[in-house]
Symmetry: C2
Subunit: 502 residues, 2 copies
């Protein structure tokens, strides 16, 4: 398509927040639509100067928009690098050739490396609509990715993004496959490992299906939206960092895939492995410990499932010469007490500061994982990692290192508190028989986490505890009354979130 | 959630064309979002009086929208039955319980009847976003529906929509599974069958992946958007009708499913069978003939595949006591010459009017299918249906019946012609060796069909024809220069659309 003068429209910034999806609005009678024949809800190519993006077009028949202008979402505005009054050419979006491969994957069979590359390239270019992305994500979940396909996907996700290399040839990292509320070990582990002199440039994601990801939690205490240059400086200065992976430009396809998985409230093993390993490898890591919590209401429910996942992780890592150690941990109940960014940050700080009331389980698990990394990277002999980690934590050196890293990232802030707090109490006296991780996580999300940083819930009991009728089981934290009403409705409708036995 | 006064916003009609998807826009600083904590791109419940719908919410930070108003798409406006200045309450959308079943279908296994019912009910209620719909459609394509699931889906699609019953206990219908461009036999078949006194209340769909559906083609000659009362009157008066199925309210879930399949450019056997049979049964049909064209570039590529599809069709039909006859036909090349609504209508009229230049293949196939219906419904003895059909056509009675039906639907119009016509010529002398149905259909769509009624292409050759260099192979018809340029680019890039052998 050659853009010509008839296809020029005046750009108007709508301030429309549409996440990554580029959206354009034009008047039903605008001359471009008449000459090009584009219809409502079609995908179009927008060009400004040398820059082109693909957007979803909506038409408006009211006078909200003049006939010679095009309204753009923030993502489209930024993608085109526009200034006010700039000119935009509108043409048909080119056919998306790689959708043939998505259809092949749905109906027929496996994908070649070239096919996976072209799908990932089109995702990164913004050619896929949400419908296309949802079909791809669902297809590779319903018919799971083969080991080779995971390797292809991992490599394609690395190659379509930025990469970092470090001066040191040994670079450590950790990751938790998630599914367990709380469990915010990363900030503690990074502080301990960095203090030993090992590089640990930790990139984290925001929540996919949980009330908070590590990036959400760290964001209440410091800036996490650093670019690669800033990240490099922080790590060179402090050995560690806590940054949001997307901001660094590693594995950009992953951002879109995660957005769709979040809307669908699932993720699948192959996609998860590609997502995790592509970001680790792009960030230059060489030695990685993966935490796999197992429990009846955790993401991974059985040891057999954890073993299968571990095997696939190891096989894919081997294709990239990545040293991996998998730690299968107890996922029968949350780790720590808070769920939601600020409440989890509070637990992390209590452990780092050696508070006597710090959650013991969070402390223990952090030491276990830090110890595993120290052993994997040769900083401690086999079986001696955890003791070394404990020395660093109890001596206050982990806390000092944590502050040093936060300061290098832009400063340290204490976590905020939510406006509304409401306890949910035991309906009768007895013993805590079970805790449903999924429903607790759902309640914390309905309370507003992770979008509201201070929202979530604070768990007051653990499995086996004795409670009396009226004792608080957990406290809901919300920023608005609307959300408090909403989450209370959910809690009332689900009395089995925490079960009390005799 | 209880709507309270703080959640009221003034409705503003944007004239936003978003097809079925309900969209709402609010200002980032609007008090409702502050009190409810709803964020950009979330799903919300909108209430006006006693009516509620689910919509996708976008936020706008510019002054395009005042802080106390909510902008609504046409579908949201109509769904809420709003008048200007009406008040809308905004609350969180309730969690969509049936998405659990979609996830179960992706990762685990089959669905029960109750699970399918709750998914279809949520689709009809508008609770599913495009992402949810795409995941459901992909899941049941990648892991095909079992026979029982197709029965459940068919029944759920019938029960969530309107139904019609007729005075006559025997009601005929026909359907083509598609995939073959042109092939517009339906208007001819309906005219012939109705003329024998059989009821044939034909509901048709618009194009899913083709340049035109029967409803698109009929729309250039008469009104097809009739409601059930009008349909009833037309059929009682004339024995037949040609209406757009969605307008009649049969199987409303199908509308959303087809919209997603169109964006993904696929459909799968189980979904297709549920889609077809739910509409036939809801429309009160008892005897149905299904045309299954088979050819290397048709939707169904092999006889084996056609046989499998036929078996599934028959099994599902049996669960509803529907009499079905399947006609496996030649799908090696297009039927008729035109592709696109108006060009196909022109072929249909030529056959009905017994024009000497009418496409012989379209005529023959229409007689075959009409004959099959007459035999299935007992109007002709076995082997005698086609002769009876031919008498009715050549005697001019089919054409008179066609006009009678069109007049009852609101009048008859001759099809329009497109503004731009451009022949694509044979690059060398030889014989027509192959015709790629899919690429021809794609070219007709790029020319603007079916949205532009007159757009499409007109095929000038058939398999085995001799051509000289420079002879036209087909003529492109477009309404705009933009589309002409676009489709010419595609044709140049795909010289194998029609292959010429020595």
């Amino acid at each position: 398509m050659r853009p010509d003068s008839a296809n020029r429209l005046r750009a108007r910034r709508l301030g429309l927040q549409s996440q990554h999806e580029a959206i354009a609005l034009v008047h039903t009678d605008c001359p471009v639509c008449r000459s090009e024949g584009v219809s409502a809800h079609s995908r179009v190519r927008l060009t400004h100067g040398e820059t082109s993006i693909i957007a979803t077009l909506y038409q408006i028949s009211s006078d909200w928009l003049s006939r010679d202008s095009i309204g753009l979402s923030e993502s489209a505005w930024a993608g085109l690098g526009l200034a006010d009054g700039g000119e935009v050419h509108v043409t048909h979006a080119p056919p998306i050739a790689s959708l043939t491969h998505v259809r092949h994957r749905i109906f027929d069979g496996g994908l070649s490396e070239i096919q996976v590359q072209s799908i990932v390239a089109d995702i990164v270019n913004g050619a896929y609509s949400d419908i296309h992305l949802a079909a791809f994500v669902t297809a590779i979940s319903a018919r799971p990715l083969s080991k080779n396909e995971v390797v292809f996907l991992t490599r394609a996700m690395i190659e379509t993004g930025e990469r970092t290399q470090w001066s040191d040839s040994l670079v450590a990292d950790k990751h938790c496959v998630g599914g367990l509320p709380g469990n915010r070990t990363t900030p503690i582990v990074v502080a301990i490992v960095a203090e030993t002199g090992l590089l640990i440039p930790k990139t984290s994601s925001r929540a996919i299906t949980s009330p908070a990801g590590t990036a959400d939690t760290m964001e209440v205490m410091t800036r996490v939206n650093l670019d690669r240059e800033e990240m490099w400086r922080v790590v060179e200065e402090t050995n560690g960092c806590f940054i949001w992976g997307d901001g660094a430009g590693f594995s950009p396809a992953d951002t879109d895939i995660i957005r769709i998985e979040r809307a669908l409230n699932f993720d699948s093993p192959g996609v998860m492995i590609a997502s995790v390993l592509s970001k680790k490898i792009a960030a230059g890591s060489t030695h990685v410990v993966i935490d796999i919590p197992v429990g009846p209401t955790a993401k991974i429910r059985t040891t057999a499932e954890a073993e299968m996942l571990s095997q696939l992780f190891l096989k894919v890592a081997a294709a990239f010469s990545l040293e991996l150690r998998l730690e299968i941990t107890d996922g029968s109940q949350p780790v720590g007490r808070g769920m939601g960014p600020a409440l989890e940050a509070r637990d992390v700080l209590a452990v780092l500061r050696n508070d006597e009331n710090a959650p013991a389980d969070l402390r223990e698990k952090s030491l276990q994982l830090a110890g595993a990394i120290l052993e994997l990277a040769g900083k401690a002999a086999s079986g001696r990692g955890q003791a070394l980690a404990q020395d660093i934590l109890t001596g206050g050196r982990a806390w000092q290192r944590f502050l040093m890293i936060c300061k290098a990232q832009g400063g340290f802030l204490e976590p905020p508190s939510a406006r509304h707090q409401r306890p949910v109490c035991a309906p009768r006296t007895g013993r805590i028989g079970s805790i449903d991780n999924r429903k607790l996580a759902r309640a914390a999300k309905l309370a507003g986490a992770p979008d509201d940083k201070a929202a979530g819930l604070d768990l007051k009991v653990r499995l086996g505890d004795s409670v009396r009728q009226g004792d608080p089981l957990f406290v809901l934290h919300t920023e608005t009354i609307g959300e408090l009403t909403y989450v209370l409705d959910y809690v009332e409708a689900n009395p089995d979130i925490i079960e009390i036995t005799h």
